[in-house]
């Protein structure tokens, strides 16, 4: 046996093993028959319209705050966000304002304040970054920075003058009434998604109990006899915050039971639900189409 024979033998073994594994395992996880769907919540379908008219209750406001009435280029930027152009970007992840609340905007003044610092809620961080990017591409003399910290930090630092604009994924705390001015830029709605045949709607109480671990089998909510697998977003995720708030509105004592699988992204939740029957999770309403 010389080295060449050995090398060829190794390649042959590897290929045979690969083909064998391929035939034995097939396209694992892709041939799943059941499809994930977005469930109704208290009988209401998770649609943007239902979020806007308030009948779908797992939702919250997205608010930007400024210290005093916005002026100059800060106002120009805010107007642009609530204009149709800005709202289309926001709509990729969240629920847009209704058309009547959209504004018109003017170009920012090149000689005015050309750097705008924003910060606060991490859940709208990504969308704000996208908005900032588009704005800077449109007006190259503008610089918009985005930092995180959470809604509370957004309020506090805007009040302290560190941020020009504070980003909040909830309504402004009453503590800041009179100092800060809130501007609503959109809504965040969270849809409950599951991969189980025979269940299309859950009540708030049922969802709360599934996620708190009191209900563990689909048969307890009218489905087949199958254990429920709970998927949650990571600690600190904005979608998770929104979901948890809604659950606490159902039951103030509610707490997420920790026997869930953590996914770091909406895509992760969708992927896991697609491949695994009997699972339940939640995603942003803007992403339901990706199911």
């Amino acid at each position: 046996m010389n080295n060449k024979t050995i090398a060829i033998a190794a390649v042959v073994i590897i290929l045979i093993a690969g083909v064998g594994a391929y035939m034995a395992l097939g396209d694992n996880g892709e041939d799943n028959k059941s499809k994930p769907i977005a469930l109704g919540y208290n009988g209401v379908e998770p649609t943007e319209d239902n979020v806007l008219n308030g009948t779908y209750t797992i939702q919250r406001n997205l608010v930007l705050v400024t210290k005093g009435e916005p002026t100059g280029n800060v106002k120009a930027f805010l107007d642009w966000i609530t204009s149709e152009e800005g709202q289309n970007i926001l709509g990729e992840e969240f629920v847009k304002l209704d058309a009547s609340s959209m504004t018109t905007y003017a170009a920012p003044d090149e000689k005015g304040q050309t750097t705008i610092n924003c910060g606060g809620s991490t859940s709208i961080n990504e969308t704000m970054s996208r908005l900032a990017e588009a704005y800077m591409a449109k007006y190259s003399y503008m610089t918009v920075t985005i930092s995180g910290g959470g809604s509370g930090v957004g309020e506090k630092q805007t009040d302290a003058g560190v941020f020009d604009i504070g980003m909040l994924s909830r309504d402004m705390g009453s503590k800041y009434d009179g100092n800060l001015v809130p501007i609503k830029i959109g809504r965040d709605g969270v849809a409950i998604v599951a991969n189980i045949s025979g269940v299309t709607n859950l009540t708030g109480e049922q969802v709360a109990k599934i996620f708190s671990g009191e209900i563990t089998n689909w048969s307890q909510v009218g489905g087949p006899d199958r254990a429920i697998g709970v998927i949650s977003r990571e600690d600190g995720s904005g979608t998770r915050d929104c979901f948890e708030e809604a659950m606490k509105a159902v039951d103030p004592e509610w707490e997420l039971k920790d026997h869930y699988v953590t996914q770091q992204s909406t895509g992760g939740v969708i992927g896991m639900i697609q491949t695994t029957e009997g699972t339940i999770g939640y995603i942003s309403i803007g992403q339901v189409a990706a199911l």
Binding site: G18, L25, D235, H259
Partner: protein
């Protein structure tokens, strides 16, 4: 012209001295790097240390930073349990394979398997994790439908880590077994012992410290592993309930850092607590390193006075005046060990059974298992030693076959599924639709750019330090400090390098995510490997060559540079290529410093961020459902790049081995 005592011209001597200073300066870099890492990691964890109660941090059982709950116990437990599970699987299997290679297989096979092990230990961890995600999890879901709804679990994490650790454990413990003097085997065989008796009673006990070193090395790797674990454990900070529930979802220290650091806010308690996790991780690795050093020391102490056949307990207690205790225990050794073994079997089977059924049945199955063990022993006792030898032979061969099969399946499966996904467009076009479609050209180029820059920084630093250690250093305090620093650097988990880079380069120096940041971080990470392989290669050069050169009047530096280094070139180049191949597959160090998830164009300058194959694969596999084909294609390309590096390295080694003879 002044001459020194050897009659050499002085100016040449001065150049020589200059080179010495340069080498000292370069080698001190390692100390500087490890000090910086310690200072930055500790410094950044200070906010957490001063704001949180350290005791509660270590013992609290809820990790929920958004609610201000910082209890790291589930994470520490997760890391330890996943490692324990991996070792429970990898150590017996790896040891059996090592025994097979060294004692049973023909000598030729050893020469093949060793480099193959090297290749497998070089496959990026994200590829192992990907295989776990795509193949292992669905398989586990099918096998345990009631226990494993998702598949993601401690069990899955341990299996993936175990498979990853196998090549290292096989390779290092095979070295240890191979190093047992031939005379031991001959003596045993001459006494009429069978091959199996010789292996189990003489060879393996004699190699036990080397084997322990292999195990500890594997443990160190497993504790610091990030990506593969993150992909299959479920990542929820959770104490398994009961503690032995291998089906439980777990989260590890490394996984928590990797998933939460990018989201955390600079200077907050939340970010600082992640650095504190990094400190804990480093402390764990440090303890493991100290253990391994003790084991190696013991092995050195005992060289030449090996007492084959002494019980493990007796060996551990050794010569420390506790010999009499060991003797007493030794007298009852057989019975004691056997009883202990039965108790272990019972406890283990009982614990596993409780995961499936009630307490009563579990106790019964535990008792049944012990009864079966006793029965099996009886039956084995009745068999003559020749058949036993045959049986053992077959068992070891079967295990070796299984190991080869597992590893071949991983490579083969990814190749078979990946190659059809690779097209010209796939490797030449940028991604579109945030990575859901299009090609992966920027990720391929990014990975190659990262490798190139890393080599540029790490090779000179590493090789010069290696030269200093091998050729210039004496056993001074300074050299000891450098060696200590290299050891520490070598043990530092890759994610800690990432954290360090994110603070120093991204934040303090304000580079943001940049290619150069990735270079520096990766270079620091592979530095100790390059230093070690260089030093080893130089030390293997016979002393005669140096003496001959000096006798001809060449200066120290000239001797090193013109004679010793060229002679050791094969080893140096191989080590360098292997380490850069490893850097190509690393994810944790670059995910906070250089690599971004989506960037359709190439980096314009070294201060731009890049895409990288391992991170791209991770992102596709975890966050982008419906991109299976792209995932296999990416995994395949990543694996091929790394394989090319390893094959090149072994070709170069072969070439030099043929050319250089003394």
């Amino acid at each position: 012209m002044k001459t020194d005592q050897y009659g050499l011209r002085r100016n040449r001597n001065e150049k020589d001295r200059l080179m010495r200073y340069v080498l000292i300066a370069v080698s001190s870099m390692t100390v500087l790097i490890i000090l910086m890492i310690i200072v930055f990691t500790l410094g950044n964890s200070w906010t957490a240390i001063s704001n949180l109660n350290l005791w509660e941090f270590l013992t609290g059982d809820s990790w929920k930073p958004s609610d201000g709950e910082y209890g790291a116990l589930p994470l520490i437990a997760g890391t330890l349990l996943v490692t324990l599970g991996a070792m429970a699987f990898a150590v017996p299997v790896g040891l059996a394979a090592a025994v097979y290679i060294s004692e049973i297989a023909p000598a030729r096979m050893r020469n093949i398997i060793k480099p193959v092990c090297e290749v497998f230990s070089g496959i990026p961890s994200v590829v192992y994790g990907f295989f776990g995600l795509m193949v292992l999890l669905p398989l586990l879901r099918d096998i345990f439908p009631d226990q494993l709804l998702f598949g993601s679990s401690w069990l899955a994490g341990s299996l993936v880590l175990g498979i990853m650790a196998l090549p290292t454990i096989i390779s290092v413990s095979e070295d240890a077994i191979h190093a047992v003097p031939r005379s031991y085997r001959e003596a045993s065989l001459a006494m009429g012992a069978t091959r199996w008796e010789t292996i189990s009673k003489v060879v393996v006990p004699a190699a036990v410290s080397g084997i322990s070193a292999a195990v500890i090395l594997g443990v160190g790797r497993a504790v610091g592993e990030t990506m593969a674990v993150m992909m299959v454990t479920g990542n929820t900070p959770l104490m398994p309930d009961p503690l032995w529930n291998i089906f439980s979802i777990v989260s590890t220290l490394t996984g928590t850092i990797a998933s939460q650091l990018p989201e955390s806010v600079a200077g907050s308690v939340g970010q600082s607590s992640l650095f504190l996790l990094g400190v804990i991780l480093m402390a764990m690795v440090l303890v493991i390193n100290i253990c391994s050093r003790q084991v190696v020391k013991r092995a050195r102490m005992r060289t030449g006075e090996c007492e084959p056949g002494t019980s493990l307990l007796g060996r551990i207690m050794g010569r420390d005046g506790t010999a009499s205790v060991a003797k007493v225990i030794g007298d009852h050794r057989e019975t004691a060990i056997r009883t202990f073994g039965y108790v272990l079997v019972f406890v283990f089977v009982y614990m596993m059974a409780t995961l499936f059924t009630g307490d009563g049945l579990s106790v019964i199955s535990g008792i049944l298992a012990v009864a079966m063990c006793i029965g099996a022993r009886r039956i084995l006792g009745g068999i003559d030693s020749a058949s036993k030898d045959n049986a053992a032979n077959m068992l070891l061969t079967a295990i070796m076959g299984a190991v080869i099969l597992i590893l071949a399946v991983i490579i083969g499966y990814i190749l078979i599924k990946g190659i059809p996904a690779i097209s010209w467009e796939f490797i030449t076009e940028g991604p579109s639709d945030s990575g859901r479609s299009g090609g992966i050209m920027p990720a391929i180029v990014g990975t190659l750019e990262l490798m190139g820059g890393t080599a540029l920084i790490a090779f000179p630093l590493g090789i010069l330090t290696g030269i200093y250690l091998a050729e210039y250093s004496r056993d001074t305090a300074y050299t000891r400090i450098i060696r200590e620093a290299i050891d520490l650097l070598n043990g530092t988990p890759s994610i800690v390098f990432g954290m360090f880079g994110s603070v120093l380069l991204v934040t303090y120096l304000g580079l943001g995510y940049s290619m150069v940041g990735g270079w520096i971080t990766l270079a620091f990470m592979i530095l100790p490997v390059i230093i070690r392989t260089t030093e080893e290669a130089l030390r293997a050069v016979p002393q005669d060559l140096r003496e001959a050169s000096r006798a001809l009047g060449a200066s120290k530096w000239r001797t090193t540079y013109r004679v010793v280094v060229p002679a050791a070139m094969g080893g140096i180049v191989t080590g360098a290529i292997l380490s850069i191949g490893r850097a190509a597959g690393e994810t944790a160090p670059i995910m906070f410093t250089a690599a971004v998830l989506f960037q359709p164009t190439l980096a314009g300058s070294i201060f731009d961020s890049v895409m990288a194959l391992p991170l791209h694969l991770y992102h596709l596999a975890m966050d982008m459902p419906g991109t299976t084909e792209l995932q296999y294609g990416t995994a395949c390309i990543l694996m091929l790049i790394v394989l090319v590096f390893f094959v090149t390295a072994s070709l170069i080694r072969n070439h030099y081995n043929k050319k250089v003879r003394w």
